[in-house]
Amino acid sequence: MSDLCNRLLSSVLPCLLAASALAQTEQPSSPVPALAPEEVQHALYTDVMTVPTPGEVFAAIDKGGKPNWSSQYRPPTSFNSTSRAQVALNLGTLIADGFIAVAAKDGQQVKNIGRDVLTLAKKLSVSDSVLARSKSITQFAENGAWPQLDEELAATQNEVKQALEQNRDADLITLVSVGGWIRGTEVVTGLLLQNYNADDAKLLRQPALVAYLRSKLDQVNPKLRDDKAVGKVSQQLEAVEKMVSFPADHVPSAEEVRSLNGLVANIAKQISNIQ
């Protein structure tokens, strides 16, 4: 109960504090009408607003105690695939790994992952965006400037996506997002298996997000869609969507978390291993 109170306070208080800074000009709230059905139907879905960064879910789970972030590291693997689709998926998982290293406050791991990100970014011709950030990432890592590192990683991810768009590789943006979400979910479920609690289990409810990612995968050009890694991911995301589509008042059990973890861990492994 006290844990619940603490969590409520930690989530509501920041809003109230920030609001107080603006209170002098705040307007009284008036009843807000519900959205019209056509407004819901025509709502804008866009990567930059609709797809949360791995840092957002990690921020949420970080409030539940002291997660053992380093337990979620992956052993370094040599990645030799020449498939650009698979490189993009892997880049997404690696950027999520970067957020994990920042959450773990592990400067060396941040630098290691930064090097791997750069290697993959080169394969997608977007290394300039990473290089531009790599110096500050290294400096922040050496100085233990964790909040700034978190922001820098998010900015790197965003700039990689912008560079892909400028290179007319917009479809690869979807794959980076999918890779990042898969790896982020693997980590969250992995931490939950170590220390199950209902509040963190509720973070797994993301049906619309997975539906959005699946719809975007369906829209990628046929050449990318035929890629072995994309096919495998696409196929299994349907099962993932079912697992994260539960009513708002449902709390996934430890067994449900275990099933989801097994599935997303398998997808993440396939992303990095398919030749």
Binding site: H42, Y45, G55, Q157, E165, Q206, A208
Partner: protein, 149 residues
Amino acid sequence: MKRMPLLLVCACAVNLFAGLATGRAETVTDDQVAARSEVLDLAGAFENDGFKIRDGHLFGKVARDHAEVISVNLYSGNAYWFSVASTKKVDKLKVAVFDDQGKPVKFEPYAEGNRAAAGFSPEASGLYYVKISQEDSQPATFCLIYCYK
């Protein structure tokens, strides 16, 4: 969730417009630059309270008869501030938050002229909608960003 397929089909269509709306278009207008500067200034207040600004922004246009509704996926346990600003010419800009059914949720409102924000701490993770509107009949360019903690 039954409406999701239709919703996503519509989303695909709307995404054709997203190239203009995401701020990734090749040219950024003066109004967009001004709106982004204003919104970053507004979000600075939240940043001072420990909120992180999500990297990335969304440009769009609103008028009295044309609001913009944006889908976001949020996590319970986090607190969010959705901040929007337009050029100085615009008055009475508003931002509101709705659940996945389109029903308004309880949020902390802030609105002053060409700046507005909504503070929200979701009890359930999942899909929410953010609506940007204004009362002026003249279309106005806005810039939306969000912060989380």
